[in-house]
């Protein structure tokens, strides 16, 4: 009790800055005057009375100190004293301080940012109660799988295919049979939808959900009601739940939004509620769809398939729905998976009637707590690499500070010796040095947090397309802050403790002797050099990595696409199927195309079903006339439906035959143009012009396919990605295809910028149909840049870390060489007195530095060779151990080592022999 009370009182005093000095002085004065009076009464002279009083009181300063010690916490006070002292020391050598703090700040900032991104993209779960209970249904099929028609993402593997999409009949059957999970619910991300709110056409992201979706996810809307089972019934009026973000953006958070009607793909939809702001649906953790609509609305708002409906039993061949369920208490995942697999096999057999050559997909249960977790496929690998890189940078920064502090502690040996000799406790001195390093790391940490904060604000913008709204937010959260704090603390201790220990290890006397530091120079010099070797190694690794990624970006940027990419503005039009059922859609696009061609500023205009380098593609069965179908042979080709003037607009050369022209109408004989490589592959050694081939776009549907005559051969182009070599493909006039049910992308050749031509394009389309918004307006170059985004981010980040590594390495080399030269001043003086030339001294110092650099670089190259194969999948056009890049990084590091040791070498050569000897 007593000590506690005292401690509390002391803390109170410390916090309230009550020094108590005033009180003590007053009491002392009172005491002395009383004593003086009494002395006077006993007959002393006034001066003597006062003197005796003071004598009787005792040693004022000692008592005052005692009083002060009683009043406050001496430990904390001395820590404050340490901090003040260290601040002064650090402030005095601001060059050292800023290099150390900045490098640490960069390292910590980078680590925190990357860790935030990893947390957001790979670790966070859906914001619903007990997300860990969610299971996602998924299947695998081999190459002969009966499932061929899919809407949604799939994992294509050499041995087959995997996806989380199911047909509607499969969902119904699985849900009916299910007794191993809680009630199954389904959802489908339908992507962009054309919506009209208050007469404003805009693009919204939509998600179709089953009637039990909100009930099973245990999510309550913040306003209105959720989508209920009653809404998910054929014939029920179409309703929607909107996201909190859309509520705020389009309705200024007005509570009157419930009951409002908006148009979604031309269908009137009543808003019944607003989702809670953290809720992002079931698909992803990072971004929420704007609209949640019941599955039953699919035939109206998002018609697909032959009669527009994917519901009921109408379209069992189309696999599109994502299915989830919560675990049931007491049922193991493996049991649940077996039971669900059995019902899936049953429903596949009854609805798709596979023949004996076809295989049935196997169902498996995946963790659904992160939705479909598509971010893993895209970001896991690059983030792993970046995390490793920033981890190395942190290590480098720490070792850099260690070597800087080390050199300083050597320089301060004498000071420490004096303090120890004057009776300072070893722990006290140790604490002083530790305080300094800790202060430094705290400084770095504070800047690092600020950097991380900025980085987290920047990251979503980096990850999004320039022409689209950044869709996800990335908060800097407490976990990450705690992580940063511990990294800072740890690094502070890590690089503080060694120099501190070394500084106090030697006994005070030795340091005070003039020859003291020289006697153990060899060993001490060695540990400093080891740190620098280690830095050189890390830097070599980082620089080689950065060069690999920069090289990849360079190679990609200089890939020949096969078409002209400049002055080309792209935008997409997705016509609603309900208003433009085939072949009305073809007429619509013909009309738009004509209208655009007449616009001023438009040099050329065309359209294509698939835009280039946009990760979309189309594939069809392709049989040269006379060849027979063979299931064991790949008889398909990539294809694209294009408008007239396509080859001219894109500047793709026609190598033989003719271009499409206005006579190739819907009723004319079907014609096609082959790419050079398809022509060579399909008609080897023949002239393909005039030959015919059978193209089959939907092999599972019982249509005969089209017989198409080859009228021309065009140059090869890249298709969906810069990384993919030009593929064998054929083109058709879009007027001769059955429909353009996925819309079309327009390519406009113009000398104007996309921003300045967009209004007139929009006006032209508006004049044809005011409900048709222009989507994704961008230039072809922007589209290509976006496809290289991942490579660019990695290259930019690793390159800046590489530069940082070079700077840190040069600081390290400089520090250790400067220290070594300072230590050897007298030796150098003697050498010069004995006749050594300045040139020889320079050579001597540089040779020393070169040895350090060589050992470090060799180890670094070794580490690089051992580790770069891990990033092979992120490279393009480069071998992970590209000898040119290895040589370049080795040279760069060697150069940095030489440059950094040049100044110390010059200083060594400028030593005056006499002065150096006198100094001794």
């Amino acid at each position: 009790m007593k000590p506690l009370k005292r401690l509390l009182a002391r803390i109170r005093n410390l916090v309230s800055h009550q020094s108590g000095d005033q009180r003590f002085l007053e009491e002392m004065e009172e005491h002395l005057s009383r004593q003086t009076e009494e002395n006077l009464r006993s007959g002393m002279t006034p001066a003597e009375a006062r003197r005796q009083a003071v004598l009787k009181f005792g040693a004022v300063e000692a008592i005052r100190e005692q009083y002060h010690a009683e009043k406050s916490l001496p430990f904390i006070e001395s820590v404050v004293q340490d901090v003040r002292y260290s601040t002064r020391i650090l402030g005095k050598s601001w060059g050292f301080t800023s290099v150390a703090a900045i490098s640490l700040a960069l390292a910590i900032g980078a680590n925190t940012t990357i860790f935030s991104v990893i947390k957001r993209l790979l670790l966070d779960r859906l914001d619903v109660p007990h997300a860990e209970q969610l299971r996602l249904l998924h299947w695998y099929g081999d190459r002969h799988t009966v499932v061929t028609n899919m809407w949604g993402m799939s994992d294509n593997m050499p041995e087959g295919i995997g996806a989380a999409s199911f047909s509607y009949p499969a969902f119904e059957q699985l849900r009916r049979d299910n007794h191993v999970l809680e009630d199954l619910f389904a959802f489908k991300d339908v992507g962009r939808m054309n919506a009209t709110i208050d007469g404003n056409a805009q693009i919204l992201q939509g998600e179709l959900v089953s009637g039990n979706f909100f009930d099973q996810l245990q999510v309550q809307p913040q306003l209105g009601r959720p989508i209920l089972a009653g809404d998910d019934r054929i014939g029920a009026p179409t309703v929607a739940l909107i996201s909190a973000e859309l509520w705020q953006r389009a309705f200024r958070s007005s509570p009157a939004v419930v009951g409002r009607t908006i148009k979604v793909n031309l269908v009137p939809v009543e808003i019944v509620g607003v989702a809670p702001s953290e809720f992002t649906g079931a698909k992803s953790v990072q971004s929420s769809p704007d609209l949640f609509l019941p599955l039953s609305s699919q035939p109206r708002v998002e018609p697909r398939g032959s009669n527009g409906s994917l519901l009921g039993a109408s379209c069992p061949q189309m696999w599109w729905l994502n299915i989830m369920g919560r675990t049931k208490a007491g049922v193991a995942d493996i049991t649940a998976q077996a039971a669900l697999d059995a019902s899936l096999s049953a429903v596949v057999r009854s609805t798709l009637r596979p023949d004996k050559n076809m295989s049935i997909p196997r169902l498996d249960l995946l963790d659904g707590s992160r939705g479909l977790f598509l971010s893993k496929q895209v970001f896991a690998k690059p983030l792993e690499v970046l995390m490793a890189v920033v981890g190395l940078v942190l290590l480098l920064a720490c070792s850099n500070i260690a070597s800087l502090l080390f050199a300083r502690s050597m320089a301060r040996q004498r000071e420490v010796g004096v303090r120890l000799a004057l009776g300072a406790g070893r722990a006290r001195v140790l604490r002083g040095v530790l305080t300094e390093s800790f202060l430094l790391s705290a400084l770095g940490g504070a800047f690092g947090v600020a950097l991380a904060f900025a980085g987290c604000r920047m990251m979503p913008a980096l990850l999004a397309n320039p022409w689209e709204r950044a869709q996800f937010i990335m908060p800097l959260d407490w976990t990450v802050l705690a992580f940063t704090a511990s990294v800072t603390l740890l690094s502070g201790l890590l690089f503080g403790i060694v120099p501190a220990w070394i500084a106090t290890r030697s006994d005070g006397g030795a340091c005070l002797k003039p020859t003291g530091p020289g006697s153990t120079r060899r060993r001490r010099g060695l540990s400093g050099k080891l740190i620098v070797c280690f830095q050189m190694m890390l830097s070599t690794l980082l620089v080689a990595g950065a060069l690999l990624f920069v090289g990849t970006l360079f190679k990609l940027a200089h890939v020949g696409t096969g078409f002209r990419t400049d002055h080309l503005v792209l935008f997409a039009i997705q016509q609603p199927e309900s208003r433009y059922p085939a072949p009305k859609d073809l007429q619509l696009h013909h009309q738009i195309e004509e209208r655009l061609r007449a616009l001023p500023g438009v040099q050329n205009v065309t359209l294509s079903e698939v835009a280039y380098i946009s990760d979309s593609m189309e594939n069809a069965n392709f049989l040269p006339e006379g060849e027979t179908p063979n299931p064991d042979k790949n008889q398909s080709a990539w294809n694209n439906a294009v408008g007239p003037g396509f080859f001219q607009t894109m500047s793709i050369p026609i190598l033989a035959g003719r271009d499409f022209n206005e006579n190739d109408t819907a009723t004319a004989p079907k014609v096609g143009i082959l790419s050079e490589s398809l022509a060579r592959k399909a008609f080897p050694g023949q002239n393909p012009i005039g030959k015919r081939f059978l193209a089959h776009f939907h092999p599972r549907e019982d249509t005969p396919g089209d017989l198409i005559e080859v009228v021309g051969i065009c140059g090869d182009t890249r298709y969906w990605s810069l990384k993919q070599d030009p593929v064998a493909m054929f083109y058709q006039p879009y007027q001769q295809t059955p429909n353009l049910d996925f819309g079309a992308t327009y390519e406009v050749r113009t000398s104007l910028s996309s921003a300045s031509i967009a209004p007139s394009l929009r006006k032209a389309v508006h004049s044809i149909d005011p409900d048709l918004p222009l989507q994704q307006i961008r230039t072809q170059q922007e589209q290509i840049d976006a496809s290289m985004q991942q490579e660019r981010i990695i290259a930019a980040l690793t390159a800046s870390f590489g530069v940082l590594a070079l700077v840190l390495a040069s600081v390290g080399v400089y520090g250790v060489m400067a220290y070594s030269v300072a230590q050897r001043t007298s030796e150098i003086g003697i050498r010069m007195a004995l006749g050594a030339l300045p040139r020889q001294v320079i050579t001597m110092v540089l040779r020393d530095a070169t040895w350090i650099a060589l050992v470090g670089i060799t180890c670094g190259i070794g580490a690089t060779v051992l580790s770069t194969h891990l990033v092979t999948s992120l490279l393009y056009g480069l071998h992970p151990n590209d000898p040119v890049i290895l040589a370049m990084s080795a040279w760069l590091l060697a150069l940095v080592g030489l440059v950094a040791s040049w100044a110390p070498a010059r200083r060594a050569a400028a030593v005056e022999p006499m002065q150096a000897l006198r100094h001794e």
Partner: protein
């Protein structure tokens, strides 16, 4: 010249508490004078050392202090015993008497056995 005894650690606090218990609220000077007086001027007390002790006792809650007018119309800080202080005094008195008894007995025996 009289021999003066250094005060044993801890006993000064006991003296202060006892003084306050007997005389009631008192200022620092008064406490010092009283201790000197009782000890018959045999203690080598630097009076100044009383003040850190008074502060400690106050922070422990055994005594409390406030400014007040003294006899000759000057300001002085008066210390008084608190309830905690009274309890502490009793406990320490008990301890002290016990220790003194034991020491006395111990020293007495020692004298007898000596050859």
């Amino acid at each position: 010249m009289k021999t003066r005894t250094d005060i044993q650690q801890g006993t000064l606090a006991l003296m202060v508490l006892k003084t306050l218990a007997v005389l009631g609220p008192l200022h620092g000077y008064g406490i010092g004078r009283r201790i000197e007086h009782i000890s018959g001027d045999q203690l080598a007390l630097n009076q100044g050392t009383l003040y850190p002790l008074l502060l400690r006792l106050e922070q422990e809650g055994a005594i409390a202090s406030e400014w007040g007018p003294s006899e000759n119309n000057r300001r002085a800080r008066f210390y008084r015993l608190t309830r905690t202080g009274r309890k502490q005094l009793q406990a320490e008195l008990r301890d002290w008497q016990q220790t003194a008894e034991i020491m006395a007995r111990f020293l007495a025996i020692n004298a007898e056995v000596r050859p």
